[in-house]
Every structure is written in C-alpha cells, then in structure tokens.
C-alpha cells in the first residue's frame, strides 16, 4: 500500500492556486475532504459550497464569463448529475473549468454505490468531454502544473483515488 505523501492536500491545493485558480465550487467527497477545508478557509478565493454538482459546474462556468479561473471539486458520482451541463454548457460553449474529482470505487472494494461509478469513471469523463488525468501517488506538483498548462481549455479532470490526500 502506498504511503501518504507529506501534506499532499496542501501541495495539490497550492498547485491549483499557482495555476491561477481563484474560484472553487463543489460538492464534498470524503477523498477530497482536506481540499474542501482548504478552499472553505481561503479568504483569497471565492468558494461556492454547492448543493448539487450541476449547480457547481454552472456557477464555475458563469465565473469564467466574469473573468475568474475556477475549479470544481466533486465526487465521481457527481458526473451522473452533470451530464447536461458538462455537454451543453461547458463543452458546447467551450468554457473550461478545471475539475478535481474524488474517484470512489477505483479499487475493487468499496461500497455498492461507488462500485457502480468507479469502473466507469474514466470512460464517463471522456464521454462528457473531460480530459482525465489520474493523479499518481506520490504526485509531482511541477508535472501537474505542466500538464494543466498543456491542457489549458481542455477541461482537465484530475482524478484523485483512495489514500492520496487522506
């Protein structure tokens, strides 16, 4: 079993911010719990604790129209809620928030609802015109930053599996 990288959530959060992220909207996932705490307590960003993932995506898209650079934090199950807004808003208008997605069910053993979404997550991202980026453990902030820069405008979805951040 891989060990937790020291302060992995802080590293990931600072990497997003150094890539320009100044707006976060999302619905919690336990795998991303420390990321939500960092966003909620960061006075330098706008944080939208969304009640549904599609609201988070639409608010993030609205913030891009207003000149912000948003990230959407959510669980992979939220992809099921977001089909329309990802295709007919983000993709259709070429509006590109960044996504950080907790990948429940990425291992064989998880609770039944996560086992439904886990194995479908990468394919689902591609179907919804997101570009999946599986976060390695440990990850290199500079490599992630380079990938984000290269994928600018591609709606990168950073997939965060178990025991990477928490």
């Amino acid at each position: 079993m891989a060990e937790l990288q020291s302060d992995a959530p802080g590293l990931l959060y600072r990497t997003l911010k150094s890539s320009g992220v100044d707006f976060v909207a999302g619905v919690p996932c336990s795998l991303l719990a420390p990321m939500f705490a960092l966003a909620a307590n960061d006075p330098k960003i706008i944080y939208v604790p969304a009640v549904r993932e599609d609201i988070a995506v639409a608010a993030a898209c609205g913030s891009i129209l207003g000149g912000r650079k948003p990230a959407v934090f959510m669980q992979n199950s939220g992809l099921g809620t977001c089909g329309d807004v990802l295709l007919t808003l983000a993709s259709m208008y070429q509006i590109s928030p960044l996504f950080v997605i907790g990948w429940r069910g990425c291992e064989k053993k998880d609770s039944p609802e996560h086992v439904m979404f886990g194995p479908r997550t990468v394919a689902l991202c591609r179907q919804l015109n997101l570009k999946p980026y599986v976060l390695p453990n440990p990850f290199s902030p500079s490599r992630l930053r380079t990938a984000l820069r290269r994928n600018e405008g591609a709606r990168t979805a950073i997939l965060v599996g178990a025991r990477i951040l928490s």
Binding site: F23, R52, A58, G66, V85, Q94
Partner: protein, 201 residues
C-alpha cells in the same frame, strides 16, 4: 401580459450595462430576436435549469456589475436548489426574473406545477433580499426600477399568459460566439479582467 411582452418590457427597463442571461427555449429566442447585436447577453441554449446558477457565478465574479437572469417557471422548478444557493451567497447585484406561464411552452405547452408553488415565498425563505409576484406592466416597471437601485438578490415572478404567440427564430449564433462576444464586451468594459479567460478548445 404575455411572456414576450414581459420579456421585452424587462429588457427595455435595462440600460445596457447589465449582463443578461436568458434560459433555453423561447425566452432566449425572443430575447435574441429583439436585439441580435446586443453583446451583453448570454443565451443558454441547453442545460435547462442552470441559467440562475450561471448568473450566480457571474455575479460573484463581477460584484460591481448588475446581472439579470430571465427564465421560465419550468427552468426555475427544474433546479429549485439554486434558490437557497443564491440565498446563501446573497449577491447584491443579481436580479432574477421568472416569466411564469405555468407551461413548458417550448415543448408544446404541457402544464408545469408552478400554480401550486409559491415561488416568491420560497425565494424569501431561501435568503433572497426581496421577492415579488406581479401581473401588470405598471408593477413590473416599478419593481424592476426599485430592484436596479436596491441591493439584491431580488426575485421578480411575473404571471403571464401565452396564447398563440408568434415564435421567434432560433438563436443563430454558435455557442462559442455567444460566449466570446460577452467575454470581449466584459473585458472591454473592465480592462483588469484576465484575457486568459477566453479559453480555446
């Protein structure tokens, strides 16, 4: 009033410095046909239910610019959770207009459940600064004028009746053009805005 009357009246009461977001279906089509050249518009062509969430994100990103979202009862009911989301953030610069004809007009006039829902009461309970239900053009003029002056978020539910309305043609702009035109207009009006926001595919 018909929804088209109410829509054109709301648009006439604006000065052109506001961002106007219209929901999918006939509302965007009518709004576009009234002023196809207006750059301060975002016509939402899909994503039913999401117009007010787009407006929320934009209002939070640009707190000094008034944002007006105009949608139908079908749209607001589809994502009713957006009301407490807006109520939580309380953007002062957001005016939320609902043209309530109690029908899904664009898909053939099927009835919605709006007659059994007190949308304005819910909006106030959800944290809106003010919410009004009205039926006449005079009231619409008065409340829109007050809403522009006062802190929001304000919800204005206009009860309209549509019968045999002539339908405007579809919005002929490609979706990325709609976005780029609005972003360029906002950038020109607010030069500090990042140019990197015009993301390419």
């Amino acid at each position: 009033m018909t929804s088209k009357d109410a829509l054109s009246h709301v648009l006439q009461l604006l000065t052109g410095v506001e961002v106007v977001i219209t929901s999918n279906g006939y509302i965007s089509r009518h709004a576009y046909s009234l002023a196809p050249e207006a750059p301060n518009r975002f016509y939402m062509l899909g994503s039913m239910g999401m117009a007010s969430s787009i407006a929320l994100g934009l209002a939070l990103a640009q707190p000094n610019r008034q944002v007006v979202v105009i949608e139908g009862d079908g749209n607001i009911l589809m994502s009713f959770g957006t009301l407490p989301q807006i109520g939580h953030h309380r953007p002062k610069n957001l005016i939320h207009v609902v043209l309530d004809n109690a029908r899904y007009e664009t898909t053939g006039g099927q009835t919605t459940i709006s007659p059994s829902v007190e949308i304005a009461t819910v909006a106030v309970a959800a944290g809106y600064q003010r919410a009004e239900v009205l039926t006449s053009r005079t009231e619409l003029t008065r409340i829109m004028t007050e809403a522009k002056r006062e802190d929001g978020p304000t919800l204005i539910a206009v009860r309209v009746s549509d019968a045999g309305e002539e339908i405007a043609p579809r919005v002929s702009l490609a979706p990325p053009e709609i976005k780029n035109r609005l972003q360029q207009w906002l950038c020109a009006a607010n030069p500090s805005q990042r140019s990197s926001s015009t993301g390419k595919q």
